[in-house]
């Protein structure tokens, strides 16, 4: 059984196709491990009985040509799943049972995957440490009382702890890449418009994007093949010619031009991050890539602009939670007080903060000074990338300005928490694809990630570069299973 959980997604699929392993054996192995890993608090909702039933059905008459034949998967609890509770980590949705399925999860089941359950996340995906979930903090398997990052913290923790062979998360400002970096896993945020947003609990609609979180780059390519599809149900879905990412993977990156942006060398960046980045540059040179120094001059304005755009969109999106048609309701003496009490009790502190920021920047008299200003800055940030991509194919940066921290370390100061996303946020503002791959460890043995940012819709290029780096890096998490009971 320990063999099963140590297999990558693609290795697991090979064994299913060769009939060396059955879907039931695999599903039961992951369930058994999840039962012993409850202390990590990765799951909000489990669907184990149904999973075993579906695995049994798959073994009896499943289609082995599927891309994910009989593979059990757990997903972030931000994806609506038909008839299974979907909470977004919030009290206000703690009893919500969707009557529809998100497009992205539907693609997984259509390719033969089996749902194990729904993974913990920051409330409405607002957070960088999985400490804002109504369902409690998630612990990272990389160390006791260490945060897994966020907002896809439950996904990252479950993946690193081998409770699911792969997973999907969502990334609005770094919510896939930062937790991947903190847990020694691979996280890919595709180009805005690649993966449908239909049925994903909305946070900031112009930034949200779903993407794979996996054990290695090949698995990310495989998952992207399944979830990246045009969807008429998402008005911002883009109908471009998608690649055959997994089959086309190539480790030949000779002659590729990689940009190194000087503005990412931020004040107070730990030496170990600096040397991780330098080692990445050296490795790329060794692999035949050409290193080019570039400038992204508006980088330092990305985070402040993000903290106007994202809360503004969030305050509009979250206006729907009023206690009328679904979700938690608190009583009040009249309709308005029912709304106010419902939202006051139903939302956590971070969500309330962001709704308030968003309401303020959109309110009469402040719109031009804040929201319009932020959209103009957003244009400048995107222009920086457009300019850089005239001379490079991709950009290499660290994924995060530090390694994982302890639970409780940054909860008192929202701004210090926001700074976690300093390297990931510019990518969302510009709609670009980016991947975080594990590249080293810090002095505490916590993982560190490198981020590659690509041109819009050129995920293949990004996957190829990270695939070739991964081979040379041969990163191993070597977790000691300390959380197993």
């Amino acid at each position: 059984m320990s063999d099963i959980i140590n297999l990558t997604l693609s290795a697991l699929i090979d064994k299913i196709k060769n009939k060396e392993l059955s879907s039931q054996e695999i599903t039961k192995a992951y369930i058994a491990r999840a039962e012993k890993s409850k202390d990590l608090n990765t799951y909000i909702t489990t669907d184990f009985e149904n999973a075993i039933e579906k695995a049994k059905k798959f073994d009896e008459k499943g289609n082995f040509d599927y891309k994910l034949p009989g593979v059990p998967l757990a997903v972030k609890d931000l994806f609506c799943t038909n008839n299974l509770k979907t909470t977004a980590g919030s009290k206000i949705l703690s009893n919500f049972i969707p009557s529809y399925e998100s497009t992205v999860t539907q693609h997984l089941w259509d390719e033969g995957a089996i749902l194990l359950g729904k993974l913990n996340c920051d409330e409405f995906a607002m957070g960088s440490s999985n400490e804002t979930s109504f369902f409690g903090n998630v612990e990272s398997p990389v160390g006791k009382k260490v945060v897994p990052g966020g907002s896809s913290g439950g996904s990252a923790s479950a993946l690193a702890a081998k409770l699911t062979p792969a997973t999907i998360g969502t990334d609005t400002g770094g919510s896939i890449r930062q937790p991947a970096s903190f847990t020694g896993t691979v996280g890919l945020k595709p180009t805005y418009g690649s993966c449908s947003r239909y049925g994903i609990v909305a946070f900031a609609s112009s930034l949200d994007q779903a993407g794979p979180m996996t054990q290695d780059v090949s698995d990310a390519a495989l998952m992207l093949d399944v979830i990246s599809k045009y969807d008429t149900k998402d008005s911002t879905s883009v109908n471009f010619k998608r690649g055959d990412y997994f089959k086309s993977l190539s480790s030949n990156i000779k002659g590729k031009k990689i940009g190194i942006p000087k503005e990412y060398r931020v004040d107070g960046m730990p030496k170990e991050i600096e040397s991780l980045w330098q080692d990445g540059i050296t490795l790329l040179k060794k692999l035949g890539a050409k290193i080019i120094d570039i400038s992204l001059p508006h980088t330092k304005y990305a985070l402040p602009a993000y903290y106007i755009v994202a809360p503004a969109e969030a305050s509009s999106n979250l206006a729907r939670y009023d206690g009328v048609k679904y979700g938690y309701r608190s009583e009040g003496e009249n309709l308005i007080s029912m709304y106010e009490n419902t939202r006051s009790e139903g939302f956590g502190d971070e969500v309330k903060r962001r709704i308030m920021i968003g309401t303020y920047v959109l309110s009469s008299g402040y719109y031009d000074a804040y929201y319009l200003k932020a959209q103009k800055i957003r244009r400048l940030i995107k222009n920086d990338f457009d300019e850089a991509y005239k001379s490079v194919d991709a950009i290499l940066t660290p994924s995060t300005p530090s390694s994982a921290f302890k639970i409780g370390d940054k909860t008192d100061d929202p701004v210090s928490m926001y700074l976690n996303d300093i390297f990931t946020v510019p990518v969302n503002l510009s709609g670009l694809p980016a991947i975080s791959i594990p590249a080293g460890k810090d002095k505490n043995n916590y993982p560190l990630g490198l981020q590659l940012i690509g041109k819009a819709f050129e995920e293949q290029n990004l996957l190829d570069i990270s695939y070739s780096m991964e081979k040379e890096l041969s990163f191993k998490n070597n977790l000691q299973d300390w959380w197993i009971k």
């Binding site: 009893n95 049972i97 009557s99 529809y100 805005y192 418009g193 112009s206 008429t232 008005s235 911002t236 883009v238 508006h298 330092k300 304005y301 985070l303 402040p304 903290y307 106007i308 305050s315 206006a319 009023d322 206690g323 009328v324 048609k325 679904y326 979700g327 938690y328 309701r329 009583e331 009040g332 009249n334 309709l335 308005i336 007080s337 029912m338 106010e340 009490n341 939202r343 006051s344 939302f347 309330k352 903060r353 709704i355 308030m356 920021i357 309401t359 303020y360 804040y370 200003k373 959209q375 103009k376 800055i377 957003r378 244009r379 400048l380 100061d413 929202p414 701004v415 926001y418 709609g431």
Partner: protein, 95 residues
């Protein structure tokens, strides 16, 4: 500039979130530190810059207004916080 307590309470009202004085004071501190951080944007001259309103710079497509999901009325009403099987119920609004 700073956001005072009165403004905090006004924003809370606009946001339809009830807050007490203690919470208002906490939010005053948090929001001011966040806005201090946001003020950095004022250093950038954006007079000649067009706002970026959408990253997917395509026009929205039209589609037929057709019902595709049917017979889920019961399922939807089941999520209603007030147990009345046929309607969504709210506190009385008309005297």
């Amino acid at each position: 500039m700073s956001i005072d307590l009165k403004t905090i309470k006004h924003i809370a009202k606009l946001s339809r979130i009830s807050i007490d004085d203690k919470k208002a004071k906490e939010l005053e501190k948090d929001l001011n530190s966040i806005f201090e951080f946001i003020e950095a944007l004022n250093k950038v001259d954006t007079k000649k810059v067009d706002p970026l309103t959408s990253i997917a710079e395509t026009s929205l497509k039209l589609r037929g207004d057709e019902v595709k999901t049917k017979n889920i009325r019961e399922q939807i009403l089941k999520n209603s916080p007030d147990e009345n099987k046929d309607f969504f119920v709210v506190p009385k609004v008309v005297e």
